[in-house]
Symmetry: C2
Amino acid sequence: MKKTVTMAIAIAAISISIMSCNNTTSQSTEAIIIDNILTRTSVRKFTEQKLTDTQIETLLRAGMAAPTGINLQPWEFIVITDTTVQNKLVTSRVNTMYREAPCLIVVCGDTTAVFKPHDDPDAQPMERPNGNWTQDCSAATENILLAAHAMGLGAVWTAAWPYPERYNIIREVLGIPDKIMPLAVIPVGYPAQDPKPKDKWKPAKIHYNQW
Amino acid sequence: MKKTVTMAIAIAAISISIMSCNNTTSQSTEAIIIDNILTRTSVRKFTEQKLTDTQIETLLRAGMAAPTGINLQPWEFIVITDTTVQNKLVTSRVNTMYREAPCLIVVCGDTTAVFKPHDDPDAQPMERPNGNWTQDCSAATENILLAAHAMGLGAVWTAAWPYPERYNIIREVLGIPDKIMPLAVIPVGYPAQDPKPKDKWKPAKIHYNQW
């Protein structure tokens, strides 16, 4: 009898713990993800700690999971951990973090694509400008920033495109082919600062059914 | 003695449960967020269930949490739940989902901004084109898609910009001012299909330290 009671109490205790644990987990899956989106903010100072290959791969997997127009996946990623290369990219006071971050991810886009005409199945596919590349590569960049934040890393989006004085240097230093354009340079590493996320919620930016 | 044993077993059981629960939660916070990024995919068919105001607000809060160039937050969001308006936006076989989704979010960007010259504090601020608006609004769009997926909703990015045959109709139907450009229309609702996420992981897209 005593044994049965002991067992019953133990099982009840485990059940209660598991139930409350599951509740927390299932309720908070959405909250965890939304919170990660709302608390991500730009980190511009990093410790010297290197990223592991696994961390870099996770960031790139997140980038490549972004949606792309007609699934063209027009992106290319250049991972930079060589300080000699990093130093060559520092061209202004603003981007000294290119030198100080343990890793840079340059998100590039193929500005052209081979399109098959919809209306004529016999027509030859033709290389034409891809109007979606900036949007696709921006989505990939945002995914990388969100993944970094989730992993306890810090990162910041620095725009290369549409600024020739920036992207020309990046193209030259990295040997990027003509039809490929660097969109963004993301310094990423362990945060050496703890900036508060900005509150950017502005209901005045919302319109209903009409401007 | 027996009582003590009973208590000890119960406490041990609770402790083990809580420990494993905490471990799971802390280990999986990162995994939950990365998984949400990797499993998001385009949903183009929806049930008739409406979204609540709270759900729509969460989507918009996610959008407004995106990073923007020099923090200009150049976005505007038009939420459409009026079927008369939705019907007017359906102009091709491709976007019949504009009619069928319970909600459309049109992400727009201010293509201009008032910039203060860096080098001359006495100079008047001037309205000039904002080169970052497409990137900023793309990041907002991706945040909304990720939030929708986290909330058990489905959504899809349909490009308005840079296609005049699309954005001109949207501008006209919604009365959007000249300097504001619709970038994307996001149909969002409860999924009536369960499409598998595409595997887009391609190591050949990664370059190290040089193209």
